[in-house]
Every structure is written in structure tokens, then in C-alpha cells.
Amino acid sequence: MSAGVGVDLENLWIRFGDFVAVRDANVNINGGDFFSFLGPSGCGKTTILRAVSGFLDPSDGRVLIGGNDMKGIGPNKRPTALIFQNLALFPLMKVWENITFSMEIKGASAKERRKRADELLDMIALPGQGDKLPSELSGGQRQRVAIARALCAEPDVLLLDEPLSALDLKLRQHMRTELREIQKRVGITFIYITHDQGEALTMSDNIAVMRAGVIDQIGNGKAIYNDPATAFAASFVGENNVFRGKVKRMMGSEALIETNRSGDLVARISSANQGRLKEGDAAMMFIRPEAFALAPDGASGDHFVTARVNHEEFEGNTFNIFMEGEGGKELKVAIPNLGQSFEDHTGQSITLEYEAQNAVVVPAGELAAE
């Protein structure tokens, strides 16, 4: 992979009047990385993208591309190309004109542009479609044209603002693979904005999880999923069961949590909080639905949870058990379907077990909205 051009955000603040859209963001994006900003709508991720592309000036702090401060450099002069959420293809230009618009600006001849457009159309698997209008293409095809148009400008950094959100599920999953492939082929830095954790996890080298203008955690997909730094990251990325309580005793890298409802439970302290979480702190413990297993009746201890089953469902690959949880929220358990017999527990009280390393504890904090 080519070295690529890195992007750094240094103490970046963006304010709109009294509203703080981005609060002290510090991010180092390696050249050639596929980097995602993941967060719910309104968390400030698009604002960051606009600051990188140059449509918005930081209130404070710096944006560096390839080590150069971008202050005072307009969007038309930055080595970035932006793919808009609604793609923003030019409706009155043919596909090939759309793709090579950046060359037209530089004064390239129609012949040169046509040639380059054909190359790019081959790359995005739309050969011979250059003379159509964007309105004559399907959603997925338009998507690819937008990518080709951005790549034609030969940017060092490609910025993508939820470009898949308008597509249907099947196409979205297909385009994930395709985007990743294209990124590997061209070797430039991709910065991807999404609220879809599946997209972020499958495509990215690294992910920044954002909440209300603040970056909660930066790491690769596994780190974000397995080792969340905050309650928000734990609850936003993937399904998770929360147990509220406080730290009763520290045990090295693990802690015994006195939960509000399920007794004392043991959990691993997430690495970002090692040495920071203290005895007596309010804490939240998270266990994924797939980390539970059914335990023999009557088992008890610091890695067993007992609760009444509200209802069950069969999802094909898993049996899902929904149990009485905390604060009206149900506790979800997913038992993989390996062809075993599975009795209905509805109405009964059952015991579950988990391994301490699969439970993670973080300081109590805001959870992601459902």
C-alpha cells in the first residue's frame, strides 16, 4: 500500500454561536487508512468532515493534511474530494462529463477527458455508460459515478459523508465491500462518516466514536467493539446489556461490581480505564448477548446472572432470550443455534454464566439512545 497522505486534527473546536458542534477533537489519521467517524446524527461528525474539506473554518485548533496547516485554504484548493450524502451529481451533465468535471476545470481537452472517463467507468464496472444522464442510472450506479467523479480529481484524501445511507440494505452491504476494494486499489486515505456501526466495523482500519461533539474513543473495530472506553461507545456499537452499579473491589485488571439488581459481578476493566476507575466509583458493566451461556440451575457466584424470562424468539442462527432487566430494559441473550434442542423458558427464572473477560466495566456515563 502506498504511503498516502495523513490527516491530523489538533485541538479542533467548532462552534456555531453558543452551540459547540465539535469539542477539542484530536485525531491522527494515517496516510492510506480507511478511517471512520461513527456516531448518531447530530454528533458533529459531518461538521468535522466539512472542516477537513474546507467548507467550514475551525473556531479553534488546526486541520493538517499531509502535515500542512490548511488554515485559509479554500475547498477548491485542498487535496481532498468530498462525496456528498445525496451524491450531488450534476443532473444536466452526462455521466462522463460528471466524472471528469475536475479535469474540465483544469482545461483538459474533451478527448483526454473522455479517455479518462472510460478508464474510470471500467474501474467502477460501468463500462459504456458514459453518455447517460445520472437520472438514467440506478442508485448503486449513481453511487459509483460519484466515487469515480471524486477519484478523477486524484485527491490525496477522499471524504465520504454517509454515501450509502440512501441505498437499500442489500446494495448497501454490497457497496461496503466495493468501497473497501476501491480504497485498497487506489491506496489513498478515506475518511468515512456514518451512523451505521456495521459499515464502520466492516470497512475501517480505525474508527472514532463520537457523541455530542466529543470523540469518545479511537481504535480499530475490534478494540471499539471488545474494549469500549465509555458507556456510550459500549452501548452505541453493537448490542449490549448494561448493569449499573458501583465498584466494590479492585482485583488487578478486573473489578467486582456491586450491581443494582444482579448482585456482585466480576468484569474486566476496559483498557482506557485501567488505573482510573477506583473503588466506590459509579460504574457500568456491559455484557454482549452472545457472551452469555445457560448455566446449571442453582449455580451462583460473581459470574452468574439470574432473572425471569419475559419471552423468547428463534432467529435462525440464534435463540434469543429476553429477560427482566434493569429499569424496564430487557436483558438480551443470544444462544447460537447448533442444532441442539431448546426448551421454552418463558415465565421461568433461569441462570446465565459468562466469562469475566467478556464483561467490561467503564465509569458510569451517558448511554446511546435506543
Binding site: F55, K77, A88, S102
Partner: protein, 306 residues
């Protein structure tokens, strides 16, 4: 019954549907098409005193049209140079007013359409409210500004830019300003309407790819705004060519507008057939000119309605 009519009646019911259809037909046929046809009929008849109308002399003739081109029979000139020159000047001036208006209004319309905020509403009001004042008063107001002892001349002379007052009226500047101002809204609003629906992301996308502002307008905004531009230009051109009040009040003594000739035929000479023929020639020429320009700029008739 054609399908669109059936749908129309299904949606509105027979009673309301018939009423609406009746009113629209009355408007187009009764108030526009029939009077125009009657004018067309007039234009092919000789100018006769009332007792002879319908008499043996009342026959169809091309005389009124011949008069515009060749002048009075047995006249000293082989062509009606005076009237033809007025006709030609009127068309050129109307085209000039249209282009001037377009150059003036496009940036205003773009600004109004692409800027958000309450001040935009105030700007729009400031454009609209002067039109509550009637056309004649507005024309006289411009006369006060442009007159030889008018506001503008007083200022320019006082500032030392001119030694003696400049005659804006005699040089037709007052007329062009008056015509331009009279139809400014008809140019701004169609363009504004179209540009308002332009996705801002398209402008940003072009900018992101390195386009300069002139390039963005040339390749993205203007092609998109073309229906609005053609609609505005058509209206301004037609109305300028057909204007009467502004030329009457703001025109110099030597510069007649073709509509003034038509007015003279109807009013001063009581020669309705001659006036009708002149009006028909103006109307047909304007329509042909507009259609020809629409072809050149590849505008569809449907776009004009946007």
C-alpha cells in the same frame, strides 16, 4: 372524453369542475382569443366611415400591411422608412433592455435564492413594494430623477463630474432605465424560483473539485436556471416591446416606440384597421423572434412555464 378531462372532473366533481373549466375557457377564448381574432379581422379591412361598414367597399385587403412597408400610395419614398425604423429600433431596444435586465437580475436572484435568513424576506419586500405604486407615477418619478434639472443632474454637476447637465431623456437612458425597472420583478422571480430548488451540494461539489465561481455559474447554476432565465427573458422582452407608458413619459422627443405609432393610429387617426395591422405585425414578429431564440438556446416550451 380525454383522460385528463375525466381525471379533472373526478377530482373536482361535475359542478365545481364545470365552473372552473367554464371560467378558464371564458378567459382564454372570450377575453383573449376572440378579441385578438377580431383585431386580426380589422387589420385586413379598409378604414371606412361607419355607414359604409358592411357595404360594397368593405372587402378584405392587404393595404394596411402594405402601408407599413411601402408607405402611402404615391408617396415620395419607395419604403415607409419612418415607421420601419421605429419598428426595428423598438425590437433592438427591447432586446437590449432584456439583456440589461438579465445581467442585473441574475445576481440578485442568485443571492436571494441561495442565502438564508430573515433579511432575504426584507429584500424581497423592498423589491415588491415599489410595485404598489402605479406604472405612470413610477415613470414620472424617474423623470424627476433623470430630467435636465433633475436630482441626478444636480448631484453630478454639484460633484463636478459634469460641467453642464446631461440630457438623460434625449439620450434614451431614462427610457431604458424606466423599461428595465418596470419589469425587474418579472426577471428576478422566475430565476429565483429555479435557483431556489438547486441543491446547494452541487455548488459545493463543484467548488470542492476546484471550480472557480465563474465556472460554477457557467457549468452548474446557469444550465440549471435556464428555464427560469428563458421565462424571465421572454416576459421582459414581450412586455418591453409592447410597453406604452414608459416610452410615452420617458422617451425623448425624437425616439418613438412602435406601440406609440399603434396608439396614434387607433387614437389620433381613428384608423383602427391600420393600428390593428401594426399591432399584429409587432405581435407576430415578437413571437417568431422568441421562438427562434428558444431554438438557438435549446429551450422547450414546457420550460417557459416553470
Amino acid at each position: 372524453m380525454p383522460r385528463f378531462l375525466k381525471e379533472f372532473f373526478d377530482r373536482n366533481g361535475l359542478g365545481i369542475g364545470s365552473l372552473m373549466l367554464g371560467l378558464v375557457l371564458f378567459w382564454t377564448i372570450g377575453l383573449i382569443i376572440l378579441p385578438q381574432l377580431s383585431m386580426l379581422d380589422f387589420s385586413f379591412r379598409p378604414n371606412l366611415p361607419p355607414p359604409e361598414i358592411g357595404g360594397p367597399k368593405d372587402v378584405y385587403t392587404m393595404e394596411n400591411y402594405r402601408y407599413l412597408v411601402f408607405g402611402p400610395e404615391g408617396g415620395s419614398q419607395s419604403y415607409n422608412a419612418v415607421d420601419l425604423k421605429v419598428f426595428y429600433r423598438t425590437l433592438i431596444a427591447a432586446i437590449f433592455v432584456t439583456i440589461f435586465n438579465l445581467i442585473l437580475c441574475y445576481p440578485i436572484a442568485y443571492y436571494l435564492a441561495q442565502t438564508k435568513g430573515n433579511h432575504i424576506r426584507i429584500f424581497a419586500l423592498m423589491l415588491i413594494i415599489p410595485y404598489w405604486i402605479n406604472e405612470i407615477l413610477r415613470a414620472f418619478a424617474l423623470r424627476i430623477i433623470f430630467g435636465e434639472t433633475g436630482v441626478l443632474n444636480n448631484l453630478l454637476v454639484a460633484a463636478g463630474i459634469f460641467d453642464t447637465p446631461f440630457d438623460f431623456v434625449r439620450n434614451d437612458i431614462a427610457l431604458y432605465a424606466g423599461l428595465g425597472y418596470a419589469y425587474i420583478l418579472l426577471m428576478i422571480f422566475p430565476i429565483y424560483n429555479v435557483i431556489e430548488s438547486l441543491d446547494r451540494n452541487q455548488i459545493e461539489a463543484a467548488r470542492d473539485m476546484g471550480a472557480s465561481w465563474p465556472m460554477i455559474h457557467r457549468r452548474v447554476v446557469i444550465p440549471y436556471a435556464k428555464p427560469g432565465i428563458s421565462s424571465g427573458c421572454t416576459m421582459v422582452f414581450m412586455l418591453s416591446a409592447g410597453a406604452l407608458a414608459a416610452p410615452q413619459i420617458l422617451g425623448g422627443p425624437s425616439s418613438l416606440w412602435f406601440t406609440q405609432l399603434i396608439y396614434q393610429q387607433f387614437n389620433d387617426n381613428s384608423d383602427w384597421p391600420q393600428g390593428a395591422a401594426y399591432a399584429v405585425v409587432l405581435l407576430v414578429t415578437c413571437i417568431l423572434l422568441v421562438l427562434a431564440l428558444m431554438r438557438v438556446f435549446k429551450v422547450n416550451m414546457g420550460d417557459i412555464g416553470k
